[in-house]
Structure formats: structure tokens, C-alpha cells
Symmetry: T
Subunit: 72 residues, 12 copies
């Protein structure tokens, strides 16, 4: 790829979930997108949410992110 | 589904239209998504617009919403 | 199409790239969407970015836009 | 009207009030604008507020909306 | 109450839930706040969400709203 | 005026300017609106800008505000 | 006009439409405002939308802008 | 207090009202919060509104602010 | 809990602080809320700030978050 | 300076602090910028914060503002 | 440059002005930044404003943009 | 430093990059700023982006942050 060439990208919104942390939730969403979509180029975090268990501990992180890939 | 399990969701943006009201426009968009996509889990209203007829009455409500469903 | 009829639209986010200007980048994204999706009805510009070459000149414009089309 | 023709629209901000519901407050604002302005083409809801009576019930809905019409 | 008098208000954020519609979800939140807090004066809708059942129908509306009341 | 009665308000955007301070710039805009429009009911500050003289002192405050009044 | 003098400006929202490009749509809105309002001083682009024809080409650009002029 | 120590703060939203000016409305809200809550540490202005009397003069300033204090 | 049942939630804003990282600051705020409030159901990150020591290293992370729990 | 001439401006973000009021905090930031930068042309208030003393009184106003000046 | 290498970028805000169009105003700002700063890598348009002459024609476009470059 | 003393701060925007995680990208930006600027006092995260490698794994985190320091 070279700057100046005509290209078109698509951005889709996905939510990754992991009980281990924010980076793990991002990675979970990217791997899922990687398998079902074209090769992902970059991502942008939109929001960070989470669920809390009965013990007051985070039971999972939920990261809403935009995932971007080139349209062929 | 249990909190703490790895899951990935996708959010798409749709516009439902109905001449009967805001809830009906939301429902129209959800039923369409339900038929053409995986089972929808939840929605988030983004914007409420509408068209006005020559008599000054609302001829249709247009609700822009995010529709969210689990990626299998 | 008549106002008051039930219809559902989908909005997707794409990025058009052109070295010639903002309108050309919009048009590049629309033509790509036109070929791979249903007939596009309208668009909304979200952001205008660009890359700069070693000479300080814009080497390409990158326009992020929402592209909207009727679901059949 | 045809797409591609030069046209200019104006958007004004009004607040409709009704004790009966959100759609009724929208319609109240549109009918008022319809009488005192040119024919209204479409509207966009900005905010939904309301007043609460001594009994804890909504005494009125207040909908802030943009009302749009063609300049002749 | 007269304008010009010193007064202080508090705004809290609550989420009302109802399977019947947006106005009913607002009213549910207000009645709950009315019982456990001081007398509520007004509200402002922040977001409208909802859950979707297996049949593609809205199973409940969730309205996030700011509820405002005078501090005595 | 009583809550629950049908009413319609209009919001317009004006910019008041004063070399003396923020409150004075707000008041200047309100008095101008008061003379040329219906009786103003309330205002909302949108933005506070200003111009700076050659000596580094504020030469004027510019307050952008929404001014709201009942449509008769 | 001198900075430090009391002045009041009004901002209104208009939409200019042109099939030729973004600058032309801005100019169309300004000329219309110039004829029907006081002399316009400056403008601020709010949003850039457009309609797409059956051939996938932009059939018109729609630019929503704030137009500002001094109140006399 | 030292940076690096574990601490938790709470932010609440209050509205201060004063006929004398913006700073006075902020101070009114802070003194009220000071009496009924823990010691307030800092504040952030959210919005500045006001009511206008029949003579076109500001009859009161209403400042919406976030008030922050340490949870013990 | 079942979807479709009437429920009301409250959202409060807290700031968690930790010198160890973003997830630790979130968890600190949740444990504090867990002890002094009803059982927390979920959280939403609003902002991520931090303090920097004399050596240019982060001395603490400060995470502003909304904490949500059911009103009984 | 004449409109239509090529010029380039820079905007930087500064925070002015004063125990006396909002206008004084703005002026403090402008005088500092005036001494260390080129001549400042205008400013835009971004946020108004403040610190509260043990007596519940504002101990200082902190105004975050954009300061703008011509690049020579 | 390779992805995965440690790098730090700086973003500054500038305003480019041109009487010829939006792209020309962007380019004017970039060339100025190119001469007085490190080599610029990319830009992001923040806002598009303009001044209007006595004839109702745009006398200049003013484009506020973020300009980004690597810190060496 | 004591609250109530006149002080002026500057906020600049930088982007830190690291392949190891979000906290590491923040720290990379802070250390760079620490070497080339005055002593940094605090930071605010604006956005979290990242690049994705051919294997679908995050190849680097890019954190856009505001970095704040006292002007001497």
C-alpha cells in the first residue's frame, strides 16, 4: 500500500469481552473479526464497560471498539 | 450465557420508519434485523427524526438505532 | 417510495481516499459501496483527515462517512 | 422538488409541550410552526424533558426539536 | 418558589424499565424516585435503550434519565 | 402559565458582547432580544469567547447563548 | 466596527444544496441568506451530507451551516 | 493526602442559583453541599443557564456543576 | 431478575485511584462502592486521568466511572 | 490584516488560575501567554473548574481556555 | 518506521485561511507548519468556518485542523 | 504550590505508542514529554487506538493524551 493510491476502508463496531482485562477484551474482539472478516488494519476504542460480580469484583470487561479493514 | 465467558458482539446502525409512533418505528427496525441477521439482543436509540405532511401532521417517525447481536 | 410507508435503512461507515480532494474521496467511497452493497441513498461526512508528504503537500484526503441504503 | 436542484432550507429550534406523551408534544410544536412559518418539511428531536407533579406523575412532556423548512 | 430566591437543586441519574413503552419507563423511574427521595421537580431523558426477546419483539424499554429535585 | 397546558417555545442563538465581563455580555444580548422579540423567558450559555488587545488584556467578552421565549 | 463596542449578533441555521461541490453549497446558502436577512458576517459548517443517484454518483451536496449577522 | 495512595472520590451534580452572578451561584451550591455532604474538594461547571424577568434583566443565574468529595 | 419486569437502577459517578494501573483503579472504586452502597451491577468508564511524579513516571491512575446498581 | 489574505493561526490550550473570579483567571492566562508567546488575538473558554477550601468557599477558579495567535 | 516500534507524536491545532476553497486553506496551514515545525505526518479537520464579504460571497475559508508530527 | 496562588498551566496533546499495553503507551509519551518539556504534572487520556498485525494480534497500542505542566 502507498499513500495517494485510491483505497476504501470499512469501519464496523464490535464488543469484546474478557474477564482478564481491557487489552484482553480488545484482543478477543480483534481475533473474532480476523476470522470472520477481511484482515483488520486498526482499531479505535469507543467505550469501556464491565460487569460486577456479587463479591464486588469485576467479572468481565466489555470494550466497545471500531474495527477497520480495507475493502477489496 | 454467563458473565465472564468470552463473547463478541456486533453493533450495526439501522433506521426504522413508522407513521404510528416512536415505539413502532423501533419495532419495525428490530423485526427487519431479526429476519436478516442473527438474533438481536438489545438496541440503543441514536436519534429521532420525522417527516411532516402538507397538513402539518407527522407523516412518519424515523428512529436511528444501534442494534446489537452476538457473533457466533 | 412514499413517506408513511414502512421502510428500514442501514447505515455503514466507510473511508474514501483520494489524492485529488474531499469531493473525490467521498465519491470513491460511494462508488465502492455502490458495487458491493445495495444502491446507496445518501451519505453523511463524519471526519476529514489526510496524509502529508515529505514536501509538506497533502498526499491524500481521507474522508470518513456514513453511507445509507434501504434494506430490501 | 428534484435532487440536484439548488434549494436552501432553514432549521429553527422549538419546544413542544403536552401532558399526553412525547409524540403529542412533537405534534404540538409542528402545528404551531405550521401556522406561523412556511410549510415544515421534517424535524429532528434534540432533547426530551418533562415536569413532575406533586404526586410523582409526569405533568407534561417537553420536547426540544429542530424544525426544518424550505426558504422560498 | 420565586425566581431570584437562593435555591439549590440536585440531579441524579436513574434508569426506568418498562415493557409497555418509553413514557411508562420514564414514569416508573419517577415514581421510584418520588418514594425514596425528596419531591422530584423535573427530568431530562439521557438515553433510550431496550432489550429484545427471542421473537424479535422489544421485551423492555430502558430509559436513562436525570431526575432533579430541590435540596431543603 | 400552568404546567400541563399546551405551550410552544422558540429558542434562538445570539451573541452578546461587552468589555466589562461575562454577565454584562449576557445581559447585553438579553436586552437586545427583549426589544426586538417577544418577552424572553430564559437563556442557556453555549460558549464564552473573547478578543484580546495589544496589551494582552481582554478587550471584550463574547458570550454565545440560546435565548428562549413563548410563541403566542 | 471596533472591538470593545457593544454589539449583538444572531446565528441561524441553514442548509445549502448544490450538485457541484461543498463550497458551492455553502455559497448557495449564503447568497439566499444575504437576500432575505441582514448582511451576513461569517459562517460555520455544522455537517456535510449528500444524496446519491442511481449511478452511485453524488447527485447533490447538502451543507448544514450556522450563518451569523449583526443585529441592528 | 499523598499521590499514589488509594482513594475513592464521588462526583454529584447540583444546581446553584443566585440573582447576583455566576460566581455567587457556584458558591451557593458549594455551601449547601458543604453542610449536607462530606467536605467538598473541587467542582466543575457543566452548564450556565438563567431566568429573565419581565424587564428583560437576568432575574437569576443557574449554574449546573459537578461537586467532588472524598469517600471515607 | 427477568427482562420485562419493572426495575429501577441508579447510576452514580465515582473516581478510583491506584498506582498500579487502570484495571486496579476501576476495581478500587468498585470495592468502595460495594461496601457503602447496594450491590453494584455494572460500570462504565467515563475518563482516564493520572498524576505524574518528579521522575516522569505515572504516580497514580485516576479512573472516573459510572457505577450502576438496582434500587430496592 | 484584511480578510482574504493568507494567514495561519495557532491555538494552544492553557489553564489560568485566580482566587478572585472567572474573568481574573482568564486574564491571568492571557497575560502569561502574552509574555511568552506572540501577541494573542482571541480566546475560547473550554471548561471552568475550581478548588474548594475547608470552609466550603471557592479557594481558586481554574479556567481551561484555548488561546489563539497568528503565526508569523 | 515500523509498527511496534516505540514512537511519540505531537498534535497541534492550527487554522489555515484561503479565499480559494477548503483544500487550499488546509494546504496553507500545512505548508506553514512544515516550515516552522518538524515534518508533518497527517492532519485532521476540526471545523470549517469562513468570512463573508459585503456582496454575500465567501471572502475566505478558515479551516481549523489538528496537525500531527513525530517527536524526535 | 498552594491553592489560591496565581499559576498558569499549558496542556499539549501527544500520542504514545507501545506494543505492550495501554499503560506502557501512556508512560512512553510521558517520558518523552518529561525530557523535552518542563516537568509534567498530570495527563488525561483522549483516545485509545491500535494497529493490528497480519496474525490478527495487536501490534501496537496508540494512546492520544493531553499532557499538562506548569508555565514558569
Amino acid at each position: 500500500m502507498h499513500y495517494g493510491e485510491d483505497r476504501v476502508y470499512k469501519k464496523i463496531e464490535v464488543i469484546g469481552v474478557s474477564k482478564n482485562g481491557i487489552e484482553e477484551a480488545i484482543q478477543a474482539a480483534l481475533l473474532k473479526a480476523h476470522k470472520t472478516l477481511e484482515r483488520v488494519s486498526w482499531f479505535e476504542v469507543e467505550e469501556i464497560h464491565g460487569h460486577v460480580g456479587d463479591d464486588g469484583l469485576v467479572s468481565e470487561y466489555q470494550v466497545i471498539l471500531k474495527v477497520c479493514f480495507a475493502l477489496k
